[in-house]
Subunit: 280 residues, 2 copies
């Protein structure tokens, strides 16, 4: 599994790198970013996956999420995958920011013409971990997940389906019920089929209803987030967690919006949350 | 002096805003960013100017310099001006990243056709401070300057020419002798004239030779910076400061390049340096 180095730079005593490879899962070139903390010179370090939101690539959080300072202090490797396959040969809806490029929703599509390339669930949970284990000083026994918006959805659902693989999961403004939210339902319908049962595998509240469990979740949500009422609806996650007896810390953050200003403000809290659970 | 709000967002308890206005100095619309820390709700706060490097607008440092967390803690207002006038009516060399748009070099041009618009020295030292004093909770008696590369040059030269206005000055990888450096001499020649004496007003080492003084400077420089030997040459500043008896702290940072990975790594040190001198 060869890997091309796109760029590396020293940052906060560690290394911020960008890498590219051909993905079997998506049958495209895929780009991702990894921050390796300075502690990696002394042995494998815990891995924290950051899953980005709609329209983003690895680049947005790498530039704006402000994770390096504290990740370097805590000794966490931060991995930022892309959010979809990309390329001239990949079916897409160019003018639709909620579908196709930048909008993979961390699903394995089953409907044509998307099933061949839009396999971000397999890419993030199976293929990319192989690259990390092979090419980076990553301790794959200590993995956590977090993400923003569509990526918060990804973190919650991947954690619920793989509780043995990931020790910790948190989210910034997650889409907690994508099968009914206005900006995600059309995409799931196209990737998986209208009314398809498989949609429940990609919906945190449905997974919990269906018996999936994860020890606890940590969620921040801005009260000035313009997507709060129709797209995000954290109260639906709170209700599902309460019924299932899953511990949920849900912080409503007064006056914060949906942007990286919000994410970067609460980044330190999330990194410490994961470090407490990954460094044991 | 009306001011348009382009955007505002809550960040780290303060407000990150972007603003636009018509500039008398440059005769163009100018955009700038201001971070107002939470302490401003209780009174005017010190102002720290961040001057950006070649090709940048206010946006690059706003996205990538990672100043908000600690500025909010220390109670510093951070101001990020653009680096040049811009627009269809502004003379430019589109394919030259070292001249024109994004490359104002913080000078007042005297040569045609640049003299009408390229007046970034007056814009940064005279016009924009007026907007800050009028529209923001800025304590104009407590101002500091820092910047990167071309903006480090701007910080050093503006401080040397206005020691009564600014209490503190620091720089990341500054161009210390732009009148001879390969990437700045052609621009100064075009803005000010080949061999013009006025070029010495925009060169930190020349200003020091000519008797200008500032109490002390704090400079970080990466050793893996590809511009170190031909464009930046901090040893020329060290020599000038030593001869003039100006205290200079020059940190050579092993393995760091010229990017925002370098800037963000040492941002906290600079903010604390300025806070120590501005909060008295």
């Amino acid at each position: 599994m060869p890997l091309d180095i796109v760029s590396t730079a020293k940052a906060h005593g560690g290394t911020q790198g960008v890498y590219r490879h051909h993905s079997r899962a998506t049958d495209t070139l895929m780009t991702f970013a990894v921050f390796v903390p300075p502690q990696a010179s002394e042995g494998r370090v815990p891995v924290l996956w950051y899953l980005s939101g709609l329209t983003c690539s690895h680049q947005n959080a790498m530039d704006k999420a402000e994770y390096r300072r504290l990740a370097a202090e805590l000794g966490l490797m931060i991995v930022l995958p892309d959010t979809s396959p990309r390329g001239a040969d990949v079916p897409d809806e160019k003018d639709n920011w909620q579908f196709g490029s930048g909008a993979g929703f961390y699903v394995d599509a089953t409907r044509e013409p998307y099933a061949e390339n839009y396999r971000m669930y397999t890419y993030v949970t199976d293929e990319l971990p192989g690259y990390l284990a092979t090419h980076f000083p990553a301790d794959m026994k200590r993995q956590g997940l977090f993400g923003h918006s569509m990526g918060g959805h990804g973190a919650l659902t991947i954690a619920l389906r793989n509780p043995e693989t990931y020790r910790s999961a948190s989210a910034f403004a997650p889409i907690v019920q994508p099968t009914t939210a206005d900006w995600s339902k059309p995409a799931l319908d196209k990737y998986l089929g209208v009314g398809a049962k498989s949609q429940r595998l990609y919906d945190a509240t449905a997974l919990i209803e269906d018996g999936h469990r994860f020890p606890e979740f940590y969620v921040d949500q801005g009260t000035a987030d313009s997507f709060l009422d129709t797209g995000l609806r954290p109260q639906l996650l709170a209700k599902a967690c309460e019924r299932a007896g899953i511990k949920l810390t849900l912080n409503m953050r007064e006056g914060y919006d949906h942007s990286y200003n919000f994410i970067s403000t609460f980044m330190d809290d999330h990194l410490r949350y994961h470090a407490d659970r990954l460094k044991g």
